[in-house]
């Protein structure tokens, strides 16, 4: 039996409010990924979840560039996060 650990947060839709993590990958077509990077949700960006709309609604996030975005939950599922999730800066 291994040690019990909290499961690692691996994608943006799983990130709890007031916590932040680094984007490490975008699981989607290159075209969609390029568009997301241009908006400010690319690899290497730190995202903080501010709130989640109820019933699988939008995520309200802040990116390290300073902008705030509302992101589709389904899209967030395909935004990969690196380890080292932490309390909001």
């Amino acid at each position: 039996m291994g040690v019990r650990r909290t499961p690692a947060v691996t994608s943006l839709d799983l990130l709890a409010p007031q916590r932040s993590a680094l984007i490490t990958g975008l699981r989607m077509s290159e075209r969609e990924a390029a568009w997301l990077r241009a908006i400010g949700l690319g690899e290497g960006v730190e995202v903080t979840v501010l709130r989640r709309a109820p019933l699988g609604g939008l995520l309200h996030v802040r990116v390290s560039g300073g902008a705030e975005l509302a992101v589709d939950r389904e899209l967030a599922r395909n935004v990969e996060l690196g380890p080292g999730e932490k309390e909001r800066p």
Partner: protein, 628 residues
């Protein structure tokens, strides 16, 4: 005159392009806090102090100019402009409008623009907001690092017009090709933002304000409540504040009519002026205050930053109905007018959502419906309390929204999803205090445009209708009540009356007689004309010495047998008809333009009229059964 150069304002949505465009050209580009506010390309010419004539173009927002973009989207339209300018070898200068409070995000686009091989200048705007956050931009250092000219400015900086136009002319003359290499924009942004003494506190203060407001306005329970409350208050205000003013304009109309009849007697000229011009166009003009109030409210919602919050709140519900968060702005805009709303549907990236949105937009309660609603409520529910009437008016707005959601759900089954689903990502701008001057200017323009419309299209249509109702035709004039004046007898035999009577078998189950049918025919192309047509018909029926307002005349209208012609049941049925029917040629033309097909505008026409007729019949029959 051909300009020396064309300057394209390129930047992310909300960067401040339109504000800068207005400041430099003195123009009237629509400023907004939301992507998609600028969907059409606006251009204007300015002359630099050194003599060059510069053509400035305000483009829709773009995040990137490389990679693929949907050509139908607003971003696609901006890119097409840039590509065309390159292919046609236009003397192009790219002026990037960059929100200096989001420097890092904007610089990515700068790198792309530098690769275009045309002169580039960076206008780092909203510098006043940056200063409030406790920072300053080191424009010289940024210019050095980028190899293109940089100006730190703000749309309200004094002397901006001269400064920017001269700078643009200089950039054009120098024809400097920007360098290409890549730069670490995150590092660069940190280097050129100089914190002032208490930067940390200032920044925290500005951020805290937005966070506090969001905590309430985006709260899972409070947020939707506030949203619904705001919408209700807005619709109620349109009715309650504007009603007395409308009554006043109506009174002035009557006084003028009495004067004209006093001077001109009761000949046909007097009838043309009083029944046709005043009764037709004048009655519509009385609804000016509603239009202005609605415009001001929309502007406040937009300029304050609430629009994006509204989108966040309604996204889930709209998605359930087959629409999406991005449909919200077109849907809200359609409460003023469906035509710009259909254009603004370009901000919807998902093609299926976009089509469905366009198809249901005509169901939103546009301001052209207000005159009919106002007239029907004040006429047939005059003995009710102001609250009841206000609630009824608000109910009509929500009926339109509900109809749109239901229509979208039904369409979801028929209008097949084309291509893949495109998810939503939307910027949430900080809250801002709206500027009284900007709001006043927008309200003034909406008001003058309405007056111009009434003075041109509606006036002409009212006169044509008057003629069609006055010139004797092949119709049966025996339906005129006994002892009616020759003019009323002539109207009953007129062409318009015959057409109205032709439709009676179809319209009787909904409670509409030939006079209402004439109104419905008259308002086929533009629904404002309903009230105008009623004004003309009942103006003629009222005879010479009757100066009662239209509402009183409608209440007292009789059938051929002398029974009251209309009652609350008729009013409800007519309202239902107006909620649903797309009585607007301009809307159909816009649907045709945006869908590039004849099929969809015809579809809109067919489904809205069919639904309008069915629901009007059901409402009339039910209301009659309940004894209304």
């Amino acid at each position: 005159m051909t300009p020396s150069c064309v300057v394209a304002l390129v930047g992310r949505p909300n960067a401040g392009k339109s504000s800068l465009f207005n400041a430099v050209t003195g123009g009237h580009a629509k400023v907004g806090n939301f992507p998609g506010v600028t969907v059409e390309l606006l251009d204007a010419q300015v002359r630099a102090l050194s003599g060059e004539l510069i053509e400035l173009v305000d483009l829709p927002g773009v995040y990137s100019i490389e990679g693929e973009a949907d050509p139908e989207s607003d971003e696609g339209h901006a890119r097409q402009f840039l590509d065309r300018a390159r292919d046609e070898h236009k003397p192009l200068v790219i002026a990037q409008v960059l929100d200096s409070t989001q420097l890092e995000l904007g610089l990515g686009l700068t790198l792309e623009l530098r690769r275009r091989g045309v002169p580039v200048i960076v206008l780092a705007t909203q510098h006043d907001a940056l200063v409030k956050q406790g920072f300053e931009l080191d424009a010289a250092a940024l210019q050095e690092a980028l190899g293109v000219d940089v100006l730190a400015t703000s749309a309200r900086a004094p002397g901006i017009k001269e400064k920017v136009s001269q700078l643009l002319a200089d950039v054009w003359r120098q024809q400097r090709k920007p360098p290409h290499g890549t730069i670490d924009v995150r590092k660069l942004a940190r280097q050129v933002l100089l914190p002032k003494e208490n930067a940390a506190q200032s920044f925290a203060r500005v951020r805290r304000r937005t966070e506090r407001l969001d905590a309430v306005l985006l709260h899972p329970l409070l947020g939707p409540l506030v949203f619904l409350g705001l919408m209700t208050a807005l619709f109620a205000a349109v009715f309650m504040i504007a009603e007395p003013v409308t009554a006043l304009i109506d009174l002035a109309n009557q006084a003028l009519g009495t004067r004209i009849e006093g001077v001109l007697g009761t000949g046909w000229l007097s009838s043309l002026l009083v029944d046709g011009v005043l009764g037709g166009a004048g009655t519509v003009l009385a609804f000016l205050p509603q239009i202005v109030i609605l415009t001001i409210a929309m502007e406040l919602i937009d300029a304050s930053g609430y629009l994006a919050r509204g989108t966040y709140l309604v996204d889930r519900a709209l998605r359930f109905a087959g629409l999406g968060g991005r449909s919200f702005v077109p849907l809200l805009t359609a409460h003023a007018c469906a035509v710009p709303a259909i254009t603004s549907a370009r901000i919807i990236r998902d093609p299926g959502q976009r089509l469905r949105t366009i198809l249901v937009l005509p169901l939103m309660t546009c301001s052209a419906r207000i005159p009919t609603y106002g007239l029907l409520i004040t006429t047939f529910f005059s003995d009710r309390s102001a609250w009841f009437k206000g609630a009824m008016f608000v109910g009509l707005y929500f009926a339109g929204i509900l109809a749109g959601l239901v229509a979208s759900l039904v369409l979801g089954q028929t209008v097949k999803q084309t291509g893949q689903r495109r998810p939503l990502v939307l910027e949430m701008p900080p809250y801002r205090r709206p500027h009284a001057r900007v709001v006043a200017r927008v309200a003034w323009r909406a008001g003058t445009r309405f007056v111009k419309d009434v003075g041109s299209v509606i006036l002409i249509a009212a006169i044509v209708l008057w003629a069609l109702l006055t010139v004797p035709g092949p119709g049966d004039s025996h339906s005129a009540p006994p002892g009616a004046s020759p003019r009323v007898v002539a109207m009953h035999g007129s062409l318009a009356a015959s057409a109205g009577r032709l439709l009676e078998p179809l319209s009787k189950p909904a409670g509409f007689d030939w006079r209402l049918n004439v109104g419905l025919i008259g308002s086929f192309g533009a629904r404002e004309l309903m009230v105008g047509t009623m004004g003309v018909i009942f103006g003629i029926e009222g005879g010479e010495d009757d100066t009662a307002p239209l509402s009183a005349r409608l209440r007292e209208a009789k059938t051929a047998t002398g029974a009251p012609a209309y009652g609350p049941a008729t009013a409800l049925a007519l309202m239902a008809f107006f909620v649903l029917a797309c009585q607007c040629m301009s809307t159909l033309a816009a649907v045709r333009r945006e869908t590039r097909s004849l099929r969809w505008p015809l579809f809109v026409l067919a489904y809205t009229y069919a639904a309008a007729w069915v629901v009007a019949v059901v409402v009339f029959q039910a209301a009659t059964a309940f004894g209304l």
